[in-house]
Chain length 329, copies 2
């Protein structure tokens, strides 16, 4: 474990300077009806409105900017179910680099098309019979390309954390300070980045991760103090945050800075997607709405009445799937 | 015709000061795929993310702030298919005033519920057999309440125009100037307010209105130089912008400042709603997407390759109706 290279608050600040003008400042939205459902004041950072439709462009761009000019022509390789894929493809395009993304054959079409629209090459793999890590490593070594990890990397983490600096500044601009921040978590790159950001600029804000049932690795890991894995094969609609376990680096940060995990069911996630549609008029993907679901459906009693920041982390969802959710499916 | 009371650019500037902190600064969004579809650079001002889900809160708040304290207890009355209704109900709540809204019996449920959530009283009328103007006037005279017109009023127009000052400032912040601005138009309160705003801060930007087929009153009026009416009974999915004719005041402004009208079909509007879903991750209602539809489906040749500002004016749409559009219906 590369504890010596753990990112810090200053890395997030440096990433924010680096990303200035390259990523979007996403709005903070709210609605009385969400406050009423949560029993708290809810402020939503809408990263679904970010370039590429998720926060992933932040970390990917910050990571790719570290690659020396001389190495850029060989390109990058990443593996991802879709949002990191799109972030890497876009960042590579911005820097004029080739990008190959290893994606599961069942990735949402909208995510595959997003990668291809940015000129990314897609290599599909079978989730059940192939190892995406092996495929990525092999292609990278053939091409001399750099593998861009999706979360367990100091530059990825620092980049994602810039959303936390922005969120805090927007809240301060409105004269408010968050008591709690809840964010969706798969590998924990966003969550640990946000926690590092807030540690420096909003140290009184407690950070929580939201996860789908059956993928509550963070919740269990934070309780036990060790990295716990998910049982393989558990299904959830939250494709964006189905990771086997917290990363070494993200867990080292999360263990120190996270207050705990909140676990949501698929029906609760769908309710949150419908609430975001109706009250905020934003499109959310299932994994992106997990933290909102936690706030609306299972906010712990001692968080009631407080100011709760929510990150809606992505909005890349196939139209027909989304329509089914709106229809109550 | 009250030409002596036509609002000017300075009224829009004054409205912006008055509304500061009371309405949201909505983001400007873009996507390469929209540029490719339009054959131009497209910048979308997402007023669907505004408080109450449409720009209408701007004009309503600006209008209600003109009512002297002593008259506020008697409240306000408005008639509207929904977005102005919600704007007035919210503005009235902000100022502690009672509000009654006369709404068509077939108004989208989400709009009726929006009014009621803000404490507005709803009186339904039958579009075919009753006059909403008469109902509103009668209730207003019984209560001593003030009727808040939905577009033909200098304070309404100035308030809506604040979106144009914001849009221009956001574009300047990104180092860009719009060549053209296209906005949905029903009565023309938003369009004429935007034109007044741009006249002062972006005089090189040409302003166009987008309308549904069969409701092309603005397009014909701008051509003939006189107010032209729509044939009664023509249907369109664009419920928010189905007005009988331009207003006297909005036409006086539009006749001087608008470059012309662009007419879109219902299928083109649905395509635009799907494009906004997919590429911007915002929820748009049919009328709100009319200008985006014009840009994507029928942009005039001499606007190709230019910088086109689009106002997406609202996102209040019933979930099932929206789902049907996403499914391709």
């Amino acid at each position: 474990m590369a504890f010596e290279s753990l990112p810090t608050h200053s890395d997030v600040v440096a990433a924010a300077k680096r990303l200035s003008g390259l990523v979007r400042k996403t709005p903070v939205l709210r609605h009385d009806a969400l406050d009423a459902l949560a029993g708290a004041r809810v402020f939503v950072k809408a990263e679904c409105l970010q370039e590429t439709g998720s926060f992933k462009i932040r970390g990917a761009t910050n990571r790719l900017l570290q690659i020396p000019e001389a190495q850029r022509a060989a390109g990058v390789v990443a593996f991802s179910s879709g949002n990191h894929a799109q972030g890497v493809a876009r960042a590579a395009r911005l820097l004029g680099m080739p990008a190959l993304i290893v994606m599961p054959a069942d990735a949402p079409a909208v995510k595959v098309e997003g990668v291809e629209a940015d000129g990314g090459e897609v290599r599909f793999y079978d989730r059940n019979t192939e190892s995406r890590e092996e495929i990525a490593e092999q292609i990278a070594s053939e091409r001399g390309a750099i593998v861009v990890p999706s979360f367990d990397d100091p530059h990825i983490i620092s980049g994602q954390g810039t959303a936390g600096l922005e969120f805090t500044a927007q809240m301060k601009g409105a004269g408010e300070t968050l008591d709690h921040l809840i964010t969706p978590a798969g590998g924990g790159g966003l969550a640990s980045g946000l926690a590092l950001a807030l540690e420096g600029v909003s140290p009184g804000t407690r950070v929580w991760v939201a996860e789908p049932q059956g993928h509550d690795d963070w919740t269990r890991s934070l309780k036990s103090g060790h990295i716990e894995k998910n049982a393989p094969g558990t299904r959830s609609i939250c494709d964006a945050i189905l990771t086997a376990a917290p990363g070494d680096m993200t867990f080292a940060i999360g263990h120190r800075l996270f207050s705990g995990g909140l676990v949501v069911s698929d029906p609760q996630v769908k309710d949150a997607m419908r609430a975001a549609f109706r009250y905020l008029r934003i499109v959310t993907e299932p994994g992106g709405a997990a933290a909102l679901a936690a706030a609306l459906a299972c906010l712990p009693d001692d968080m009631k009445g407080r100011k709760i920041g929510i990150v809606v982390s992505g909005g890349n969802v196939d139209a027909v799937e989304y329509a089914k959710v709106l229809m109550g499916g």
